[in-house]
Amino acid sequence: MSTRSVPVSAYRIVAGILTFVLAVPGTILYLASYFWGAWLLAGACAAYLADRVLELGRPAFFSLVRSALRRSAMPAIGIVAALLLGAAIMLATGYNPLSSYKALFYGGLVRGWSVSVLNATPLLFTGLAVAFAFQGGFFNIGAQGQYFIGVMTATWIGLALKLPGIVEIPLIFVAAAFVGAATNAIPAILKVKTGAHEVVTTMMFAYAISTLSPVFIRAFGGDPSHSMHPYASDTLPEAAWLPTFKSFLPEANYRLHIGIILAIACAVLVRFILRSTSLGFKVRAVGNNPMAAKTQGISIPRITAASLLISGALAAAAGATQVLGLDHRMYQDLGAGYGWNGISIALLARNNPIAIIFTSLLWGLLDSGGRYMAMTTRTPNSIIEIVKSIILFLLLAEMLYQRIGLSLRAAFSRLRRGSDARTGIEKEIGS
């Protein structure tokens, strides 16, 4: 019994509680555009780091920090490089990159932060959907379709049942997730039974669902004889709407709903499933190496089906959140691209659920900031799409950096060894 052990664990408990107590309100305040919530978040970070120091001891902690910094260096460099390339494109085509970027970040981070958060909410769900399938080695390219299934289910139940919100809202989410999973059952069965590639089947399902959605809207579209807004359904009763931040934070934007909190909670849940349950272990095993998983006695068809079903449920939850939180009705598909953007977000986060929280916010802020930029400068919004794809490209091209490193080294050795090395390289390329 050392005299120091008791205080250390006590400190750790305090630090843990402090982390949680500061992080939750800090996040909520910050998301609601109460920017001083950042101080609480900083405090939470400090408490968390203190806890880690106490847990690991100083040398181990600092080596951890160093490796974390090293890991985050590449994304940071990638984003900066993408912005620079975007600036070069703007310069080459006659737009002013400085004023454009100023407007982009002011619009995305400050002025239109609530819009950034609203944009990020469905994207966080679809990003998780795509990532979960990816973890199991599958490419759910049709998250857009499952999103619309979620929208339809939420609209249908929201209009059909008149229950108190506290019962109805959870019920709608459960039903939407269930129906979304059922939608993906067909591609899952086709994949397992016939080997039909999920890229084709989920994509075609997405097209089919968005083509058929007007039939659904007409069925729930009120009186057609004087309806002016046909590709929107009736409005849901207010009881089924998600609460807004404004109901407890008066300064918050009145459209901002608690969907983002649900989405973040969902990300934590997905992380828990993937890291700490046997299902998650099996999904990752199949995703990493199906042959090895098979030899370990994991049923590959069953895991394939499970990961596609959960992915469908998550994408449908995105649709339900959008209906209950923001739209309060169903709109026809206008190619908003939640499915496609979900792919980008999952890729950028390397399918890490916690990282998806940040990448979806990044995408959300690029969208809303880009809009503000187009509003206040002449620069067309589409430059943002270009910058986004460059960011993706640069962050996923690890080899690029190895290449640059190698070629730098090769250049040095060429300098040292003269023409000898050159002929060697030429031979290699010419083969």
Partner: protein
């Protein structure tokens, strides 16, 4: 009565708050802006139509103008309110998908007028909000008269026409404004010849030009020699088909003659340009009133069909007279144009 109470209440508020209250009576040259829907400018339709109205007003020195394009539905509110913050006195929101958003924006920015093009507001309309909708069926009706007359009685006037009594329509998606156009078109054609065969195909997208073309060709294969496009950018394909197969296309929303002067017979004009222009004119004169829905049709001088341009000589005076008679009949209320296919007894 209710509206009157609200108006009085609003007036009281305006006076009560004095200088802080909205000052709607404007100086000589107000700033007017529009916010497109996700189709953006260059849609050859709505957005372009409203923009033309703004440009027309600017050309006459009534206002200075600006346009802002939206790329997703979440853009709408920030665009609408942002323009007001930028000093716009009247903001046009284009497309009926903005219906919810423009009401919220109007609540947020009480000092700016908002006009929702293609919107109809139920309940209490905020006093700075105007719903602008159209009787598309009336434009469709006029086009239908021209098509119905030309395809049967006067087919010998142009070698683009055949002896079959068939005309066609290509629809983007099956939605009410499109249905209203179509219902009017069919009714117009039937008014001159009840035996006319009107065939139509839905493409399923407002942006698939190749499919729009294929639909028009399929109709032409079935004998349709005059085809109206009600399909947005897919409708460009109808004009492509007319050029290739040599038949007549009828444009919609704006005068589309320039897209193919040798094949676009006329266009059914939805009064987006005129309605925007008329509202700006009211604003400049200080007589713009909010808090109501305004439905623009023939009577209001917004809806019409485009001139026949180079085909003026092949369209006989009788047809022009029939169009003029229909206009007078509709404006005076003698003719009521159906607005749904169900009214025409067509099942879907």
């Amino acid at each position: 009565m209710k509206r009157f109470v609200i108006a009085v209440a609003a007036a009281v508020l305006v006076f009560a708050f004095g200088p802080g209250a909205p000052a709607f009576a404007q100086s000589s040259k107000p700033f007017v802006a529009m916010c497109t829907d996700t189709n953006g400018l260059g849609d050859g339709s709505f957005n372009d139509g409203v923009w033309a109205g703004l440009k027309k007003a600017e050309g006459e020195g009534l206002a200075s103008v600006k346009v802002l394009e939206a790329h997703s539905m979440t853009d709408y509110i920030p665009n609408l309110t942002g323009l007001a913050e930028g000093g716009s006195k009247l903001v046009f929101g284009v497309g009926f998908l903005m219906v919810e958003q423009i009401q919220e924006a109007a609540k947020d920015e009480p000092n700016t007028f908002y006009a929702g093009i293609d919107d109809y507001f139920g309940g209490n309309v905020p006093r700075n909000l105007i719903g602008v909708s159209f009787r598309e069926q009336e434009a469709g009706y006029l086009a239908g008269i021209v098509a119905g007359e030309m395809t049967k009685k006067y087919y010998k006037n142009s070698k683009l026409l055949n002896d079959k009594n068939v005309i066609g329509a290509v629809l983007g998606m099956n939605i009410p404004p499109v249905e209203r156009y179509l219902a009017g078109y069919i009714a117009g054609a039937r008014s001159v010849d009840p035996t006319v065969d009107v065939r139509f195909i839905t493409v399923g997208s407002f942006a698939d030009r190749a499919k729009g073309k294929e639909a028009a060709l399929a109709l032409n294969d079935q004998g349709a020699d005059i085809i109206i496009q009600l399909a947005g950018l897919s409708g460009m394909g109808v004009i492509d088909a007319a050029r290739e197969r040599k038949f007549f296309a009828i444009g919609a929303d704006v005068d589309q003659n320039a897209a193919a002067p040798d094949y676009v017979l006329t266009s059914a004009l939805k009064g987006t340009t005129m309605s925007a222009y008329l509202l700006i004119k009211d604003l400049a004169a200080g007589t713009l009133k909010g808090g109501e829905n305004r439905v623009f049709g023939l009577k209001e001088g917004a809806i019409d069909i485009a001139p026949f341009h180079q085909f003026d000589s092949i369209v006989p005076a009788e047809v022009k007279q029939a169009v003029a008679d229909a206009k007078a009949g509709i404006a005076s209320g003698k003719i009521t144009v159906p607005s749904t296919l169900a009214e025409l007894g067509i099942k879907q």
